[in-house]
């Protein structure tokens, strides 16, 4: 445990099979235990691609990734056990109820029996889904789906939690509730890697952020550091706009 870094990335590159430009272009950084690390960047910057590699969806074209000291190339199977993923796109079975979805995904992470049941109930309660929990997910509003999607990733109390835009389309009230609970999850020992387009939320939520664009890291530091480093910026959004000042993305 002497190594404070739980994720170490060196020269990570990913070029998709039919793409000309790499989606992730030789990035290196590390994430320490118990951080809430923000991966910020405009559309198509390479955030989801980076997260996908880190959680083993597909291998990188080149580069090295160590998670909890283990190489993702060789020890992916044991790494998967400590990961939790909240994907950007809702990944739930629409014809199953929230409870059934959570029971299935919880089981896939090795939970079962009463402890699985209890955890599901606790989280449904926390995110205000108890009343709707026996309805098919297809009948949910967008924000409700997001919340179930979130629970499915954190039910098993992972050591590392990837959150890919977890609060998109969620109303202000629920957003605050979610962020509050995520802070609790973090306080109980989970390292969080988080992406968002919501700079204000990132500024308050993240302990450290990295702004990336076109697969490269532009800057990195605590939100406060980034703001002070960029003359004339009063918040993270200013910094972000200054650094990624470009037209609409594809």
């Amino acid at each position: 445990m002497s190594n404070p870094a739980i994720i170490e990335i060196e020269h990570l590159t990913k070029t998709f099979r039919n793409a000309e430009e790499p989606a992730v272009n030789g990035i290196s950084f590390s994430i320490n235990r118990n951080e809430i690390f923000g991966l910020l960047g405009p559309n198509g910057a390479g955030k989801t691609t980076t997260i996908s590699i880190l959680c083993g969806l597909f291998p990188p074209t080149s580069g090295k990734v160590l998670i909890d000291g283990k190489d993702i190339h060789t020890e992916l199977d044991s790494i998967k056990n400590i990961l939790g993923i909240v994907p950007q796109d809702i990944a739930l079975y629409p014809t199953l109820t929230a409870r059934e979805n959570l029971a299935f995904y919880g089981s896939m992470y090795g939970l079962y029996g009463k402890s699985l049941k209890d955890k599901i109930e606790v989280w449904l309660q926390k995110l205000g889904l108890k009343d709707a929990a026996n309805r098919k997910v297809s009948t949910y509003s967008g924000g409700m789906k997001r919340r179930v999607n979130l629970i499915a990733g954190i039910l098993h109390s992972p050591k590392i939690l990837f959150l890919d835009e977890p609060t998109v389309g969620v109303d202000v009230h629920s957003r605050n509730v979610i962020i509050q609970h995520l802070k609790e999850v973090n306080a109980s020992g989970t390292t969080i890697i988080y992406t968002s387009h919501h700079m204000e939320e990132a500024e308050h939520f993240c302990t450290r952020v990295s702004i990336i664009d076109r697969g490269k890291i532009l800057t990195e530091g605590t939100p406060a550091e980034l703001i002070s480093r960029n003359a004339g910026s009063t918040n993270l959004e200013n910094v972000f706009l200054n650094l990624t000042n470009r037209k609409l993305r594809d």
Partner: protein
């Protein structure tokens, strides 16, 4: 691991139960198919029966052989026997002409003195046997019954007719043999003349027939029920490829695969959860189809399905078919990229494989070339197996080959899916 597998199975069952259309495809469609196809084919069968396949019969013998054959043909529901052509008594020449003109599908000519020839030869044989003479170098009687065939006549029909003829000839031979023997015996032991003769003769003839029948059944053409029930049950089992591939593709489009691929659960386990559920569905389907054949069809005035006598055989073959069908579905779901594609790809390939496999039109009425191709369809392996069980009284050992091929097919499709999946994920 077991918890995970159970959770996967539970999830699949729930997904299936919530998919009303899928369920309808799985259970309602095959029942409807069996009913419709059997009723259609049964009536087609009956319309042939009413008129019958036209056969011209020329009886120049006018003795036992000719009469027995004529009798037998007239009793055969499949054929309509005529002994005259355009109002004139048929002769060998006019019959040949009429068949070549397509007026009849078949002509049968019994030569003059056929029975007499048999009788004479038998008499010589019996005499020599009774007197202990050496008969090995004696020429056997040969009775030449001519069959004139219209080239369009189906091979299966021909084999049935020729085997019938052979049976009649043997029957006549046996009968004459016994008559002659009895006369001889009566001469030797006159007081035992009456009592045992007839019963002995009868039992011997029946015995002889039975032996013949067991080889003849090999060529027995199944009736509409015996063909359609297993055929459409197999078809229905393979049709689970549609809902199964759909379920695989939905996971792709609904984003679940993202989670599924990043979970600490082997993807194979997830697929196996599906396989277990769908194999079970296949078994239920098949049981349902058998019930339809056994109980529902008779209510509609059709013959009831005869299951043969090997329950173990049925179970084994059904299980093997179920695995093959499931493997097929997994492959379709893996190769297709959208559920639309899977539905088209799945249904077309099943239609093709079933047509080739003899589901729609039994392969024994197919031309030689097609029959050879047919042997490559897994649906055909299964159907052949069920013919063996249902029609020929086969047991487990008779369908081992079919089951083995089906299981091999399952393993093959799973391997293809697995490899393709690995490749596809290398984006």
């Amino acid at each position: 691991m077991l918890h995970k597998l159970l959770a996967t199975v539970k999830k699949e069952i729930l997904l299936l139960l919530r998919d009303r259309v899928g369920l309808a495809v799985l259970f309602v469609m095959p029942v409807a198919l069996i009913l419709v196809m059997t009723l259609i084919q049964d009536s087609a069968f009956k319309s042939i029966n009413e008129k019958g396949i036209p056969v011209v019969f020329v009886n120049n013998d006018h003795d036992s052989l000719g009469n027995i054959i004529e009798d037998g043909l007239r009793r055969n529901e499949l054929v309509y026997v005529s002994d005259s052509i355009d109002g004139k008594p048929a002769t060998a020449e006019s019959a040949t002409k009429a068949v070549s003109e397509g007026k009849f599908l078949l002509g049968i000519v019994i030569p003059k003195g056929a029975t007499a020839a048999i009788r004479k030869n038998v008499a010589v044989l019996v005499n020599e046997t009774m007197n202990g003479a050496d008969t090995t170098n004696k020429q056997q009687d040969s009775v030449e019954v001519s069959i004139i065939v219209d080239p369009v006549a189906k091979k299966s029909f021909l084999t049935t007719i020729t085997s019938n003829l052979r049976e009649f000839i043997s029957e006549v031979k046996t009968k004459i043999m016994f008559e002659t023997f009895s006369e001889q015996i009566a001469e030797v032991i006159p007081d035992k003349q009456n009592a045992p003769k007839n019963s002995y003769q009868k039992s011997q003839i029946i015995h002889y027939k039975e032996i013949y029948a067991s080889t003849a059944t090999d060529k027995i053409v199944p009736n509409a029920v015996q063909h359609n029930v297993p055929a459409w049950a197999i078809f229905a089992m393979f049709f689970i490829a549609i809902p199964l591939s759909n379920s695989i593709l939905k996971e792709k489009s609904e984003g679940s695969v993202f989670r599924l691929h990043t979970m600490p659960t082997p993807f194979l386990l997830l697929v196996n959860g599906k396989v277990i559920v769908y194999v079970f569905v296949c078994l239920i389907q098949f049981a349902l189809m058998l019930c339809v054949g056994k109980f529902l069809l008779p209510q509609l005035g059709l013959p009831a399905l005869v299951l043969g006598n090997s329950m173990m055989g049925i179970l084994l073959l059904t299980l093997a078919t179920a695995f093959a069908a499931t493997g097929f579905g997994v492959t379709v779901g893996t190769l297709a990229t959208t559920d639309h594609q899977a539905a088209i790809m799945g249904s077309l390939s099943i239609l093709l494989l079933s047509a080739l496999g003899g589901i729609w039109v039994p392969s024994y009425v197919m031309p030689e070339v097609m029959r050879n191709i047919s042997a490559w369809s897994p649906l055909n392996w299964s159907l052949e197996g069920f013919y063996k069980l249902f029609l020929r009284g086969g047991n487990v050992s008779d369908i081992l080959m079919e089951s083995f091929k089906l299981v091999l097919f399952f393993l093959g499709t799973m391997a293809i899916s697995y490899i393709y999946n690995l490749k596809k994920r290398r984006v």
